[in-house]
Symmetry: C2
DNA sequence: CGTCATGTGTCGTAAATACTACACGGTTTG
DNA sequence: CAAACCGTGTAGTATTTACGACACATGACG
């Protein structure tokens, strides 16, 4: 959907400036995929990889897995599982927060974290 | 995952007691799928249908689409889109609400609805 | 008793997903 | 200058998703 590939390429290239081991080949090997595949991913020639691969890639590049998975056009399976257990409540909450400013969302997060229940 | 099929069958059969038009064939026709396919879905012989079909089926049976989609093991694409726009905030919020009791969740929903932002 | 509706068994398939394997030409480096 | 490394083009594949088409036996029903 967005520019998952180019973003990954950008991050990897920046890392590479300080560390020669961030080549397509070496990153691919550490992530557990074929170099040709990573190359295609970065150029957007193929769709973003699976959630599992995306998460391994995120960790390798020092990025937030949730953000990378989102960039890949997905939502983590564990989040989906939580939502599916109480679909009505979560659906309503999420739809209501759709238009809320970041700040409001953050306040709700903090409020819940400080556990007023 | 769960018992999507049998649940649908149960709902349809209950509706049928009052209304003869809730046969596999007629419901399938109204929902826009083949009767054989609906039959297989209800008996769990195949996986639950796509989100779109699940929603049409839910409406036909007078059920909550979000609940049906959840039963089908999925999360609506529109909810996923909302989450993907702010992955960090939503991921944290949802994970924090994982163990919260329904009541707490409901309070947050209400609080947000009454828009204190 | 014939027609019509019902549920279901069997078979097939188009499209998407998520990759691997191999090879090739260019660049770096010891 | 050769060995190693680099990115990438081409081709192929196993699996999953999401259905449709057709035919058949059973049972209700007017």
């Amino acid at each position: 959907m967005t520019h998952f590939g180019p973003t990954v390429r950008g991050i990897r290239e920046r890392l590479r400036e300080d560390d020669r081991s961030y080549s397509v080949r070496q990153v691919a090997r550490r992530v557990g995929i074929e170099p040709a595949y990573l190359s295609k991913i970065e150029r957007g020639e193929v769709a973003p990889p699976s959630e599992a691969t995306t998460v391994r890639l995120a960790k390798e590049l020092g990025e937030d897995p949730d953000v990378m998975v989102a960039l890949a056009g997905k939502v983590s399976a564990d989040l989906q599982a939580i939502i599916r257990k109480r679909p009505r409540l979560f659906a309503e909450l999420i739809r209501q927060l759709k238009e809320a400013p970041d700040e409001a969302l953050l306040r709700v997060v903090r409020e819940v974290r400080d556990g007023n229940w």
